[in-house]
C-alpha cells in the first residue's frame, strides 16, 4: 500500500470543502486554496521521487481496497510514467491557475470561495482519472470531473456560458455513456474467460490480449469515441471552442491543459493495451483523423477573430499531433506524444493566461479591438510571444522536443501522414505570428485599447495610458511557466526517462516493435 | 363448480368500472369506479384460488383490499383538498400538469 496517491487524491477534496465553507471571506479562501495547492505540489514531488523509472513494475505506488465485490470492482490506484507526469503537471498548474485567477472579475453574485472550491474539486477528479487502475473507478472519475467543470463554466463563465456549459456537458456525457457500454462489455468478456468477472486493468490487459478482433473493435470504439470527444479529434471538436471561449481563464487552462488530456491518456492507457488487435486494425483511421485535425485546426486557428477561440483551435491542431504520435507505434513518437501532453498543458496554459491578461486590460475578446499593444505593455507582449513560440514549437522551447519526437518517430511507420503533418509547423508559425502581429504590433489602435486608455490622445503616450503592464502577481504566475518552457526545451531528459519505459511497456502490450531498432545496446 | 359465472360477473363489473372511469367527470364517481375495478379483479383472484384449491389468490385479494383501503385514504384526501381550493370535483378541471 502506498499512501502518496491517496493523499494526492484526498488533499484537494478536503481543501475544496474547507474553501467552500469560507464563503464571504474571499481573501482568506484564496490563500487557503493556494496553500492546499502548494502542499499538493509538494506531495507530487514526493510521488515523483518515490517513482522508480528503472523498475520493471508496470504500475507503481499502488494501493487497492475492495469496493463492489459483486462486480469485482476494487478501489485501486497506481501510476506508470505516463500518469505520473500528468499528475505532476496537474499539481504544477494548479497554483499557477489559482494565482492567475486571483483577482478575476466574477459574474454578479458569485463568490470567489465557490470558484476556488470548484477548482480544487476538479483537481481531485483529475488526479483520480490518471491514478485509477480499475476501469470502473476510472469511469467514475471520468464522469465526476464533468460536474465541477460544468459549474465552473456555467456559473463563472462569459456571456454565453450556459450554452457552452451545456454543450460541454452533453458531449462528454454522451461519450461517457458509450464508454460505459464498453466497460460493461469488458466485464462480460472477462467473466466469460475467467469465470468471475473483473474490471482490474492489469488483469483485463492479459484477458483481452487473445479476444477476437471483432469483439475488440466494438469495445475499442466505445472507448475511442469517448476519448476522441475529450481529446478532441475532428469532427467531434466543436464543444471545445465554445467551452474554451466561455470558460473563465483559470478553468480554461485546466480544461485544455489537463481535462482534454484524459482523452489522449485514455488512448494510451485503455485503447492500446486493452485492444491491441483493434488498435492496429483501426490505426489508419485514427491517424487520418489526427492529420486532418492538425491541418484543419491550424487553418481554423488562422481564421479566428476571437482570441480565446483561437487558443482552442490551436489546441485542436496540437491534439492531432498527440494522436499521431500515439497511433504511430514507435517509442519516439509515443514518448513525444506524452511529452507533448505535458508541454501543451504548459504552453497553451500560458497562452490562455496571457490572453486573459490582455482581455482584463482591454475588456474584449476580439482580435480586431486591439493593435500595437506592445507599445503600452512591452512585458506582456514579450510573454505572449514566448507562449506563442512555445506553441509553434521553436527549438529551445519545450514543445519543440515533443513535436520533433512525434514527427521523427512517426516517420518510419507512417511517412505520408508525417509529411502532411509537417505542414502544421508552417501553419503554426502563421497563426501565432499573425495574431501577435494584429494584437501587439503596428500603431496603437483598436476600440478596446483606445477607449480604456481614454481616447486616442492618451493611448499614444504609454506613460499616461490607463493600460498598465504586468504587475508583480501576474509576473509571478507566468515566471514558473517560462522557466519550465526553457528547462524542458534544453534538458528534457529527466522527464523523458520517466516516460520512455512506460511507452515501451505499452508498445509491447500492443505487440509492436520499434521500427528503428536500437543498435548495439 | 364452474368458474364461468363468476368470471363473467367479474368481467362485467370490470367493464362497468372501466367505462365509468372513462366517461364520468365527478372525481368521487371515478374513484368509486376504480374501486369497482379492483373488486372485480379480487373476484377473479378468489375464483381461481378456489378453483385450484390454493391460497395464493386469496392472499393476493387481501393485498388488493389493503392497498385499496390505503388508496381510499390518500385519494379521498386529495379529492377533498382539490374540492376545497377549486370548489369543483370534476377531474377535467384539474389539468395543471398538462404540457
Amino acid at each position: 500500500m502506498s499512501w502518496t496517491l491517496i493523499a494526492l487524491l484526498l488533499l484537494p477534496l478536503v481543501g475544496s470543502v474547507v474553501v467552500a465553507f469560507l464563503r464571504g471571506n474571499d481573501r482568506i479562501a484564496k490563500f487557503v486554496a493556494l496553500g492546499f495547492s502548494l502542499v499538493e505540489l509538494a506531495l507530487a514531488v514526493v510521488a515523483w521521487v518515490a517513482y522508480d523509472p528503472s523498475s520493471t513494475a508496470r504500475l507503481q505506488l499502488t494501493s487497492s481496497a475492495e469496493w463492489i465485490p459483486t462486480f469485482g470492482v476494487h478501489l485501486s490506484f497506481g501510476v506508470d510514467g505516463i500518469a505520473l507526469v500528468m499528475i505532476a503537471l496537474i499539481a504544477f498548474l494548479m497554483p499557477v491557475v489559482i494565482g492567475g485567477a486571483w483577482s478575476d472579475k466574477l459574474p454578479e453574485g458569485r463568490s470567489a470561495s465557490g470558484f476556488f472550491s470548484l477548482l480544487l474539486a476538479m483537481q481531485t477528479g483529475m488526479v483520480g482519472v490518471f491514478a485509477a487502475t480499475d476501469v470502473f473507478v476510472f469511469y467514475v472519475f471520468f464522469e465526476a470531473v464533468l460536474v465541477p467543470m460544468y459549474f465552473l463554466i456555467g456559473r463563472f463563465g462569459g456571456p454565453n456560458r450556459q450554452y457552452a456549459a451545456m454543450k460541454f456537458f452533453l458531449y462528454s456525457l454522451l461519450g461517457g455513456l458509450i464508454m460505459l457500454a464498453s466497460v460493461i462489455g469488458l466485464y462480460v468478456t472477462s467473466a466469460d474467460k475467467l469465470g468471475q468477472g473483473t474490471l482490474d486493468w492489469a488483469t483485463l490487459v492479459t484477458v483481452m490480449k487473445d479476444a477476437p478482433t471483432s469483439t475488440q473493435i466494438w469495445l475499442f470504439l466505445g472507448f475511442f469515441i469517448a476519448f476522441a470527444i475529450k481529446a478532441p479529434l475532428v469532427p467531434l471538436h466543436t464543444w471545445l471552442p465554445d467551452a474554451g471561449a466561455e470558460a473563465p481563464v483559470g478553468a480554461g487552462v485546466l480544461l485544455v491543459g489537463i481535462l482534454d488530456k484524459i482523452g489522449t491518456f485514455g488512448f494510451l492507457r485503455y485503447c492500446l493495451p486493452l485492444f491491441p488487435a483493434a488498435s492496429k486494425e483501426l490505426a489508419p483511421v485514427v491517424l487520418s483523423l489526427a492529420v486532418v485535425g492538425i491541418i484543419y485546426g491550424s487553418l481554423l486557428a488562422v481564421g479566428q477573430t476571437d482570441m480565446k477561440r483561437f487558443v482552442a483551435y490551436t489546441s485542436i491542431a496540437h491534439f492531432g499531433f498527440i494522436a499521431l504520435g500515439i497511433f504511430a507505434f514507435s517509442s519516439q513518437a509515443g514518448t513525444g506524444a506524452v511529452l507533448y501532453m505535458v508541454n501543451h498543458g504548459i504552453s497553451t496554459g500560458m497562452l490562455f493566461l496571457v490572453v486573459g491578461m490582455v482581455m482584463s486590460r482591454g475588456g474584449s475578446r476580439l482580435i480586431q479591438d486591439y493593435g500595437g499593444m506592445a507599445k503600452l505593455t512591452p512585458v506582456l507582449g514579450g510573454l505572449f510571444f514566448v507562449a506563442g513560440l512555445s506553441s509553434l514549437a521553436l527549438p529551445g522551447t519545450n514543445s519543440f522536443v515533443s513535436e520533433f519526437l512525434v514527427l521523427i518517430g512517426s516517420y518510419p511507420n507512417q511517412p505520408v501522414f508525417t509529411i502532411v503533418s509537417t505542414l502544421g509547423m508552417v501553419l503554426a508559425a502563421l497563426y501565432v505570428l499573425w495574431v501577435y502581429q494584429r494584437v501587439f504590433q503596428g500603431p496603437v489602435r483598436g476600440t478596446a485599447l483606445l477607449s480604456v486608455a481614454g481616447g486616442p490622445g492618451t493611448a499614444k503616450d504609454p506613460e499616461r495610458s490607463a493600460i498598465k503592464d504586468l504587475d508583480k502577481r501576474e509576473l509571478a504566475v507566468l515566471a514558473p511557466l517560462v522557466a519550465l518552457i526553457l528547462v524542458l526545451g534544453f534538458y528534457p531528459k529527466p522527464v523523458l526517462d520517466v516516460i520512455t519505459p512506460s511507452i515501451g511497456a505499452t508498445l509491447s502490450e500492443v505487440g509492436v516493435i520499434d521500427p528503428v531498432a536500437q543498435e548495439g545496446k | 363448480m364452474t368458474p364461468t359465472y363468476y368470471l363473467l360477473l367479474s368481467a362485467l363489473l370490470f367493464s362497468l368500472g372501466a367505462v365509468g372511469v372513462l366517461v364520468r367527470r365527478n372525481a368521487i364517481v371515478v374513484f368509486m369506479c376504480v374501486e369497482l375495478m379492483l373488486n372485480a379483479v379480487n373476484l377473479t383472484l378468489v375464483t381461481f384460488s378456489r378453483m385450484h384449491g390454493e391460497l395464493d389468490g386469496q392472499v393476493m385479494g387481501f393485498f388488493v383490499m389493503v392497498v385499496a383501503a390505503a388508496e381510499v385514504v390518500v385519494g379521498l384526501t386529495i379529492i377533498m383538498s382539490i374540492f376545497r381550493t377549486r370548489r369543483s370535483a370534476s377531474v377535467d378541471d384539474s389539468n395543471l400538469l398538462k404540457y
Binding site: L300, G372, P412, M425, V426, L433, Q437, F440, Q518 | Y99
Partner: protein, 645 residues
Amino acid sequence: MTEPVAASGLASLAWLLLALPAFGAAVLLLAGKRADRWGHLLGCATIIAAFGYGLALFFTTIGQSGEERTSELHLFDWIPVGALDVEFGLRLDPLSLTFVLLITGVGSLIHIYSVGYMAHEDGRRKFFAYLNLFVSAMLLLVLGNGFVTLYFGWEGVGLASYLLIGWYQYKPEAASAAKKAFLMNRVGDLGLAIAIFIMFNELGTTQYTDVFARVDELSSGSILAITLLLLLGACGKSGQFPLQAWLPDAMAGPTPVSALIHAATMVTAGVYLIARSNPIYNLSADGRLVVMIIGGVTLLIGCVIGCAYDDFKKVLAYSTVSQIGYMILAVGLGPVGYALGIMHLLTHGFFKAGLFLGAGSVMHGMNDEGNIRRMGGLAKYMPITFATWALGYLALIGIPPFSGFFSKDAIIAAAFGEPGWRGYVFGGVALLGAALTAFYMTRLLILVFLGKPRWKELRTSEDGREYHPHESPWSMRIPMIVLAVGSVGAGFFLENGHRLADWLEPSLGPLEETHGAIGHTTVAILSVALSVVGAAVAFLLFGRKPQPTERPLRVSFPVRAARADLYGNALNEALFARPGTWLTRALVFVDNKGVDGLVNGTAALLGGSSGRLRRLQTGFVRSYALSMLLGAICVLGALLMVRFS
C-alpha cells in the same frame, strides 16, 4: 572525412562561445530598463570576448596536425529516446572555426557600429539583446555536431531575424516583413526536418559523425531525397529561388541587422549546410545538378531585379541574393567547388557587410532616407564612408586585386570546368551575372555618391526634415574601415597558395582541380572585361546626364517586371496567400455552420420533436386512463395472439 577526437584543453571550453552571447542576451532581456545605460557595452563585450576566444582556439588548432583538427565536445544528452540519441554537442573543425571567426568577427564590428547607429533609439539594450541572441544561435548552427543541433540554431537565427526585422514593429510593413521572413524560412525548415527524419529512419542517427561515416548505407533514392530536402532548407534560409521574396522585405530592419544577418552570416547558412553535408552531396550528381540550377537561376534573378530598384538597401539585398546564388552554384559543383563557395562566402561577408554599413552610414546622415534618387554627390560630404564603400564596390564587381575577384573568378572557372553543355551554361550564366553585377553596382555608386546632389533641390526629406548630410561618428567609421581592409586583402590572402582550401580540407575533402574548355586565365580576363563593360554601360546611362528625383514610370517591360520582383510576390500571392485566405474563410464557415451546425441541429431536432410530442400531455386524466386501457388491451391481445397462433 577525418574522425573527430574528443575536445581537450582550450577546446573543452568551447561552450563559452554559445554561453557568452546567450548570457548577454539573457541579462539584457531580464534587466529591463535598468540596463539602458550599460546594455550596449555588455552586448559588445560578450561578443568581443567570444571573438577573442575564437581566435585563441583558431591559433591552437592551426598548430595541430590535420587529424587532430577535428574534435567534438559532448555537452549533454538532449533528446535520448530508444534508438534516437540526439546529443547536444559541438563539433570543432576547420569549417566551423572559420565560421566562428566570421560570425564573431563581423559580429563584433557590427555591435560596435550599432552603438553609434542605434544611439537615438529607445530600448537600444533590447536591440543588443536580440543581436546577442542571434550570434549565439548562429554559433550553435555552425558548431552543432548533428543535424538536430543545426536545426536548433537554424530556427534560432530565424527567431532573431524575425525580432530584428520587426524592430520597428509599430510600422505595419516591418511587422509584415518579419512575419513573411519567418514563414518562408519555416517552409524551408520543413525540408531540413524531413531530411532529418529520413536519416533517422535509414541510419538510426542524426549526428554528423555517424551519418557521414555510414552514408553509403543509404539507398540512392534516399540520398537524392535528402539532398533535395536540404536544398529546400538552404533555399529558405539563404533567400534562393523560389523562396527569395522575404530577403528584400527584410530590409525593413535596422541597417546593422541587414549587414550582419541578411548579408554576412545568417543568409549564408544554406551554403554552410550544403558544404557541411558534402559526404551526402558527393554521392548524388543529380542532387548537385539541382543545386547548381537553383544557384544559377537565383544569381540571375538577383542581378536583374537589382538593376531596377531605387531603394539603397533593397538593391544591396538583391545583390546578396545573387551573390549567394554564386556560392550555391559553387557548392553544387561538388568537390571542385565546396572550398570556393566558402571562400566567396568569407570575402562576401567582408565586402557586403561593409557595403551595408556604408549604406547605413549614408542613411544615418540623410535623415534615414533610403531612396537613391533623392541622393547624389554625397562623396564630398562623407569621404570616409565613400572611400570604404568604393573599396567594397570594387571587391564586389571583381576587379583585381580586390577580394571578390579571387573568389568569384575561381567559381566561374570551376563552373566552366563542368563536363559538356553544363560547363558552358553555368559558366556563361556566372559570367553574365558578373557583368550585370558591375552594372547595377555602378548605377548605385553613381546615383548615391557621384553626380549632382539632387537632395539639394529637394531640400527636405519626405518627413519634412532638412537634409544635412554628415559623416558618421567614429564608432561607425571604424568598423567600416576594418571591413574595407578585409574587402581589399581577404581574397588574395585566402587564395594565395590555396591557403583556405588546405585549411578546410579535413572538413570538405581536398579541393579538386578542374580543366574546363576555357582556361583559368581566359576566364579571369573575360570576367574582368565583362565587369568593365557592365560598369561602363552603367556610366553611360546614368553618369553623364542628371537623373530625375522620381522614378520614371514610362519604362520598358523588362524594367517593369524587374521592379515587380519578376512577379515573384504576385505569384506567391496568387498561389498561396489568396487561396489560403479563401480556404480559411470557407473552413471557418464550414466549421461553424456545417460541423457545429450538425451538432446544434441535432439539439434543435430533439428540442423541436419533443416540443411536438409533449402536446400529447393534455392534462385530462380520463384520456390518460383511456390510453392505459388501450395499452392494456394491446398487451392482452398480443399475449392471446402468441398463445393461440
